[in-house]
Amino acid sequence: MPRWGMVINLQKCVGCYACVLACKQEHFLPPGIFWGRVVVGETGQRAAVTKAAYPVLCNHCEDAACVKVCPTGATVQREDGIVTVDYDKCAGCRYCVLACPYQQRTYYADSKKEYFPGQGLTPLEKIGKELYPLQEGSVLKCNFCIERIDSGLKKGLVPGVDREATPACVIACPAKARYFGDLNDANSEVTLLIKEKKASQFHPEFGTDPSVYYILR
């Protein structure tokens, strides 16, 4: 069984936010909801100072804190490592929002919000609600583009290799900083990159074993 994972090469990333918007488009996310973000700030001092841009998303942790706290069984981990939320089961209690040490979960409070406030939903927002319904009152987060992976696999495609089967943020990256694949496959691109480039997880001290790795600059 694969364990899907991602490697983000920060040496390549230019902090353009394409990953954030590609995700919003893929999932028709409403105003204020982000399944991926770019955290921008500085590290270092004086001449050695560096602007830091960290693209972040759900880490699909091996030992996911959100799964443990979910009282209704809405948040579960599939065998392939992807952590999902079943909106029909989610009670909106938001324990998971508090439990996620990476702050990757958002409570969907208001489905009436428009991107152009007071001007009605655009045709894009309207069709989005049909094509990719999200439920108000539930907790949302990145699902590693599970639909792309599952439908891709059915067609015999390889996630991380074939665009159609690869998460939207990965194929959107103009710097080609993101890689996707099977962490359990010793020969996958992600496994080799983690090994060769000494990619690391953010905050390993949280002890959740994330499936997202970073190649630091």
Binding site: G15, Y115, F116, E130, A172, P174, K176
Partner: protein
Amino acid sequence: MAGSRQEQLREDTWIPTVCGRCYGACGIRVRRVNGVAVKIEGQPLSTQGSRGGTCAKGLSGLQVLYDPNRLNVPLKRTNPEKGLFVDPQWKEITWDEALDEIARKLKAVIEKDPKRLFYQVTTCRAPYLRGNTRPIMRTLGPPTAFVGGGGLHCGAGAHQIAGMVHGSWSIVPDFKYCNYAIYFGANKGGGSGHSSGTCIRLAAEARTQGTKFVAFDPMRNFASSKATEWIPIVPGTDGAVILAMCNVIVNDLGIYDEKYLKLKTNGPYLVGEDGRYVRDGETGEPLVWDSTAAKAKVYDDPSIGDFALEGEYEIEGKRCHPVFGLVREHIKKYTPEMASKVSDVPASTIRRIATEFAEAASIGSTITIDGHNLPLRPVSAVLFRGGEGHENSYHTCGAVALLNQIVGAADVPGGTVGWTPQSFGFPGTGKPAMHIGKGKDGMLTVDRFGPTFAWSGGGPWPPKMPEFRGDDPALHDIFATMFHSPFLASSDQEEMWQKIGLKGGIEMMISWGANTILSIANREIVAETLKRIPFIVVSELFSTELAEGFADILLPDTCYLEQADCFAGSGMGFSLPFAKDDWAYHITQAVVEPQYERRNFVDVLWELVDRVGKRDQLMEVMNDAYSLADEYKVKPGEKIDRLEMCDRVVKSLFGPEHDWEWFKKHGFITWPKRVEEAYWRCFTDCRAPIYFEHLIDIGEKTREITDKLGIDLDTAQYTPLISWTPCSVHHVKDPAYDLYCFSYRDILHTGSHTMEQPWLDELSHMNPYTYNIVMHSETAKEKGLKDGDLVELETVVGRKVEGRLKLLTGIHQKAVGIAACAGHWAKGMPIAKGKGVNFDILLELDLKHCDPVSFNMETAVRIKIRKIG
């Protein structure tokens, strides 16, 4: 578990086209479901772009398409008052009413004097600018033309020097082979500008392959944040640092590419006491000294044994010196200490970077590509707006060209390259063709400089001489090396027009997508010039500040996702794939049909040309501009529509099998680029200047004219020896104005339209800097300022802006930065309104605040800062 409801899909298709959010023109494909465009992706198979990715600006195009604030019908101003913040009191009119009035006024003005028609366009319309509006403008006059905000904030120096040296619109490192790249206020690969997506991809690859990037920049952001080393610099002093580096390399290290200088530059040309070339009495061609034969010969005499680069010679009793010797001597005054004093870059750093650059150049090394053995110079120095947006633009750009050329790193593998200006065309048709040739004095010429088609003339060489006519509101007749004219919007416009004896001024303006009231300089200055224009037509997506304040008629344009055109990108030498990336040619096609009464402005222009009786003339110009094969030429009297023209253009370029239908299906075509195209320098007998001999004559003639007219022009920079001159910002004596303020391109924004998309607005809020004023935390501490303070910036003449402060350490301690072109106030752009800070309010615009050679306006200001809340 939520998921796609496939059963609801009546239509699900992908349409290949190009992005229109900046002038990079990356290839994209757009998914359309049940008639609604729902997803944008990069075109993975094309070299024009990032090969599959897109930036956030590109992705947000869907919110341009579906913005409820878009204009849907033609509007007419009913409020006779014009000015900043004035309500136009729009009234809906029909297209016929609008076109009747516009055509009537257009006919009158072009019959009287086409120069009284002022046509301005935005850089974001660049794909259409070259292909479409150039021929239309040629047909209409040509009128006085101007490229919106991007014009005066454009590469006035950079494009001219890139043209003279690289045959191209701009310069970029040959990322694939480059090991060491220096950026002077440039953002190549940082997510904006020319070939934005292509550069992001190539620079990212280069970083992982170990290319060292050094960025001289006041702020560590975007390209400079990705650099291996960031060196903070005072704005406007790049030229001093570059010349000091040249001095270290040539005079201290004694490193230079002799062969390149002798064969590819005017380095061996003999110069007399008057600074001009010493010429052959018979042919008038420049002479060089053949050190083998110990005599002077014409520079291209095949019998030359060796070229002298230095020494003193006597020809017909007159002393003369080779150019290189003069340059070598001249740059001695630019010591690292001198440059350090003005730039704040430590002298030791200048020495170290110069040494690293010279050593990395590995002069003498070669590489074999596709069977050709070529020089390998894996170093590159590039600059753009940050480095050149000052009163010393022309020479600063010349300095970068000098730095590249002394080590022979120009248009060879690994060096600085232009956007490929040499094309043998698509196999089978030989089109589109563009060739580098040898022109006056052996200097390079390019037959269709910049874009593939439709450029109004040859390249930038030889530069034109001034010739006073007194009928040009832009004053291009007097200032021959002026790129875009500041006088179309300057505070001294009336004064200049009086001095040249111009009766009346601009009588009609057509503005396409440009928002010049927001995007050039202080809005009150620009407003005065706009108020002088009796009739203004604006074609736009939104009711902008320019439209609301000044337009008489406002036309609803289509956006790029609603348009079809055989042009996408501005072509070779501008936005098509550079260096050894394969050629690509994309078309633009509509993803959805235009809604309401929106009309593609190109169609509107065709209609106007028709209505003023110039249809046949336009077709004749287009036949020529598009180099249409004979069988596709439009015959006199023949009436074809624009899509028929698109079909003819693509068939003419790529053969009858590649017709418009083929392109609609595939979106683009690629073909291999030959080594002789990519690295044309090695295969072409022509030279580039390291000495601006042409400026002597141009300067003298300009001075003669300006003296006569009473125009106070400082002609000191019309000097052939590449120099650094301080700018007005360096002369401010009052210690209260202790900070340099500049604007920078934010990765989330192009021009000003990107402020209106809610997605980009959300991301701009997510970014700590985009909407805020940034300054160094220690400088702020000294001034008692804190993160989040509301502050006011004030220039020496009292121009003010305010905004929230965000502190950081990756900025020069004397600098204050403002992102993008923000601070909208138009009611017609409610998402953009009130967001960010409009830096341009701080800028002066007049003769005194321009580079006297290129007329690049000064885009840094000295300010004082105070807390107001």
